[in-house]
């Protein structure tokens, strides 16, 4: 268990360093893919089986493909330059490091009430299905409406005015 935790946290740390530092957008996208792999591994370590598989479907297969196609489409069609310049502002470094140090201090100084009886994690899918239709029915339907709004909005927004009406 410790080995898997070390492996996935190393994967997440190195891949987020890749997202930060790569200038080429496609390289940064592949690093983001590995970050999502690491996050899936973390979900599995924490016993969240349904959330891990949902992460694979939604983030790995959906979001990455959306990013990839938009990176490919939003280049100039005549001279395809993959290199997007990255301006390393000292401000960004200072703010991020300061924020991280504050977070480390806060996390280490709060006495978290970790529950002492850590049983083996149980399968969560049935319980999530129960909760989605009883306690979380309002967010569930709201997210459904949100998806429809996003689909209709994207199609309307990207339609060109000079097209055949």
């Amino acid at each position: 268990m410790d080995f898997f935790f070390m492996f996935f946290s190393l994967l997440i740390v190195l891949s987020s360093l890749g997202v930060m530092l790569f200038e080429n957008a496609i390289y940064a996208l592949v690093s983001l893919l590995f970050v999502f792999f690491g996050v899936t591994g973390f979900f599995l370590l924490l016993g969240a089986d349904f959330v891990a598989v949902a992460q694979i479907f939604v983030a790995l297969a959906g979001i990455i493909i959306l990013f990839l196609f938009s990176i490919v489409i939003s280049r100039s069609t005549y001279n395809i330059r993959w290199k997007m310049p990255l301006q390393l502002k000292g401000f960004a470094v200072a703010i991020s490091v300061l924020f991280f140090v504050c977070l480390i201090y806060i996390i280490k100084s709060i006495p978290w009430e970790v529950s002492l009886d850590l049983l083996a994690p149980r399968p969560t899918t049935a319980r999530i299905g129960d909760l989605l239709l009883t306690e979380f029915v309002f967010p569930f339907h709201l997210v459904g409406v949100f998806i429809v709004v996003a689909i209709v909005g994207s199609v309307l927004f990207l339609r060109s005015e000079k097209g055949a009406e």
């Binding site: 973390f42 991280f100 970790v114």
Partner: protein
């Protein structure tokens, strides 16, 4: 090694990495990658608390909704970016600064 505090520290690193990406990248799609790092770290936090502190499953529900809303947000944001790219022929945020038509 596998306890709550180390999980929270990795999520905090992801969050500050996302913050650095949002502040230092010049293209709109790179900024959205930083926002994805924000959302992933929040989801890890929720599921870690659900496993270690409360033994309930509401943390998993919130992580699910975070995932879904992140995907919707990505698609809408990319629609906007592609539309702006069609008009302005660039996706550099330093050049897309005014809201004129």
């Amino acid at each position: 090694m596998f306890n709550l505090i180390n999980m929270l520290l990795v999520a905090a690193f992801l969050f500050s990495a996302g913050m650095f990406v949002v502040f230092s990248r010049r293209d709109s799609i790179g900024i959205l990658m930083g926002v994805q790092l924000f959302l992933s770290s929040s989801a890890i936090n929720f599921v870690a608390f659900s496993r270690f502190v409360t033994r309930q499953i509401e943390g998993h529900m919130v992580a699910l909704f975070i995932l879904i809303v992140a995907a919707i947000q990505v698609s809408l944001f990319l629609a906007i970016v592609l539309r702006v790219y069609k008009e302005r022929k660039t996706s550099d945020i330093d050049e897309i600064q005014d809201l004129r038509e």
